[in-house]
């Protein structure tokens, strides 16, 4: 039915317009955003856990590393970090591969305004197919997001670890648990209820940071909204239209509003579940209401 768009009108035209191949790519880009969130959230949590554990370590250099990691990433505009890490990580990987693959390369790597490694060390390789280039870009983006949000998460988890009542740890010591045992068996299971408000806030922030993928060179929803919304002339497309970018971005706004709203509801439920029976104000309120 969509073979001859000129004859269509009204809703059937809109239906055909919204199901063109390029629009399908845009819907896939929503998948990219969700995929980014699905990978980044656990990675950031892991980085955060590592950072927080390092920050409260007894081993001084680890502590310095953890504290610096938390402090530096938080003090500077996040977008500057995104732009910085994408290039810096790329160069770091290429440099490391260069050291391994071409040990007898004698020319300097930084030549004026160029960063030149030997051809075998290029990432991705020059002859790699398109999808490798795209997934490499996406991987860099995921890593960048994880590093930045890992620092935020580290801050939250560090605070949560310190909020677990001291008596709990003292009891563990009294039972003769080693520091490692009391950390894993007492501290870690109990800290989540303290970390949840911060982590839920972080999740909201992470959702709202996903459009920055566009700046990292990934073909995400912002890219497609600009691409598809722009004015189209009959010469190049079967579906000519004026400048519709404002509508496309309105759709994105609504998408994000719904997404954050749904997350809010889910987090309220989890928080109620976790507070159940806890010696906190929220747990006490639940007990009184019941």
């Amino acid at each position: 039915m969509c073979s001859d768009p000129d004859t269509l009108a009204g809703l059937s035209w809109l239906w055909c317009y919204l199901t063109t191949g390029k629009h399908m790519s845009m819907y896939w880009a929503f998948g990219t955003v969700l995929l980014l969130l699905a990978i980044t959230a656990p990675m950031a949590l892991l980085f955060g856990f590592g950072g927080a554990s390092a920050a409260r370590s007894k081993f001084a250099p680890a502590r310095w590393f953890g504290k610096t990691y938390i402090a530096v990433v938080r003090g500077v505009p996040d977008i500057a970090f995104f732009l910085f890490f994408v290039i810096a990580l790329d160069q770091l990987f290429e440099y490391l591969r260069h050291q391994v693959k071409c040990p007898d390369w004698d020319r300097p790597i930084r030549q004026g305004n160029d960063f030149l490694v030997c051809p075998q060390a290029k990432l991705p390789l020059n002859n790699a197919p398109q999808w490798v280039h795209e997934s490499y870009g996406f991987m860099l983006a995921v890593l960048t997001f994880s590093i930045v949000f890992g620092a935020f998460a580290a801050n939250v988890i560090y605070g949560a670890m310190r909020s677990v009542p001291r008596g709990q740890m003292e009891t563990a010591e009294a039972y003769g648990m080693t520091p490692r045992q009391s950390f894993w068996r007492i501290l870690v299971p109990q800290m989540w209820v303290y970390a949840l408000p911060g982590l839920s806030n972080l999740w909201m922030v992470l959702i709202k940071a996903t459009p920055l993928l566009f700046l990292l060179g990934v073909e995400d929803i912002v890219y497609w909204a600009r691409e598809l919304g722009g004015q189209k002339t009959p010469r190049f497309t079967d579906y000519p239209h004026g400048d519709w970018r404002v509508w496309y971005f309105l759709a994105l706004l609504i998408f994000y509003l719904c997404f954050t709203k749904v997350s809010e509801i889910v987090f309220a439920r989890i928080s109620a579940r976790l507070s159940h029976g806890q010696a906190t104000a929220a747990g006490e309120a639940q007990r009184k209401a019941a």
Binding site: G75, A80, L83, A88, N113, F152, V205, K208, P211, D243
Partner: protein, 268 residues
């Protein structure tokens, strides 16, 4: 060319005074520091004006949200949800294209499609929404006794608001509001990456840092410079807000004064 010449040529480059062309080769550290510093003028302009104007709208919105009028409360809630629930980046894009479309309707809107006004409007509304939520929280935690005391003195309406509610709200909200101010300045770096064109390459600090990173393919010089400038800006904001905080807490006993605790964990 000495560094002093570079300052004269590029010091005000971001607002269109001085050298017309950006440097194309020989990217010395001095050039990078001067140009990125000149770009900071935009960040300060956007941040300061949006903050000052947004303050008034934020107080009005917070009062509306805490008030009894159902329609005003709904309006305030929707406004806050809209700006806090969606990414600032998308808001910039949306506003830019909306202003472009409106420009075709009436020439009145043509200045709105350039950054100095259009982006300022978005930042103003955005910070108003975030601050309104902070002020609303503070309004709800005003000690009951303060209001009762005001009632006992026969204060009502505007007098009570001006003398009791508003100062207490401000005092309680100030530490959180300081953080909001810092994030607003950080958020200004998004402007020239989100549709709004940098006319004649007059951009903000991140715009120039990005320019140098692209040209030299070496991110390890311009971004730390940018970070340095932002740390300075952040410290200045903390200093100024700390002075106001001292004044707001002047009448309080030492130990119950509100301390500004810095929490850097928010993006818009």
């Amino acid at each position: 060319m000495s560094c002093w010449d570079i300052i004269q040529d590029y010091g005000l480059r971001s607002i269109g005074i001085g050298e017309r062309l950006l440097p194309r080769d020989d990217f010395t550290v001095c050039k990078q520091v001067v140009l990125i510093g000149s770009g900071m003028l935009w960040n300060i302009y956007f941040g300061a004006i949006a903050l000052v104007l947004g303050f008034f709208l934020a107080v009005a919105t917070a009062v509306a949200k805490a008030g009894d009028n159902v329609i005003l409360r709904k309006l305030a809630n929707t406004f806050i949800l809209f700006f806090r629930g969606s990414p600032l980046f998308i808001q910039f894009f949306f506003a830019y294209f909306a202003f472009l479309a409106l420009k075709g309707v009436s020439p009145f809107f043509s200045p709105f499609s350039s950054a100095w006004l259009g982006a300022l409007v978005v930042l103003f509304l955005n910070t108003a929404a975030y601050s309104a939520e902070i002020f609303y929280g503070a309004l709800r935690s005003i000690p009951k006794g303060d209001i009762e005391a005001a009632d006992a003195y026969g204060m009502r309406g505007w007098t009570r608001f001006r003398r009791i509610t508003f100062p207490t709200m401000l005092r309680l909200a100030w530490p959180a509001y300081t953080n909001e101010a810092i994030f607003l300045f950080h958020a200004t770096t998004l402007v020239f990456f989100s549709g709004f064109p940098a006319m004649r390459q007059n951009g903000d600090a991140l715009y120039y840092a990005n320019y140098f990173a692209d040209k030299t393919f070496n991110p390890f010089v311009p971004y730390p410079i940018l970070a340095g400038f932002f740390v300075l800006l952040t410290l200045t904001v903390i200093g100024i807000f700390g002075l106001v905080n001292r004044r707001l807490n002047k009448h309080m006993p030492q130990e119950s004064r509100q301390k500004i605790r810095l929490r850097f964990n928010l993006i818009r």
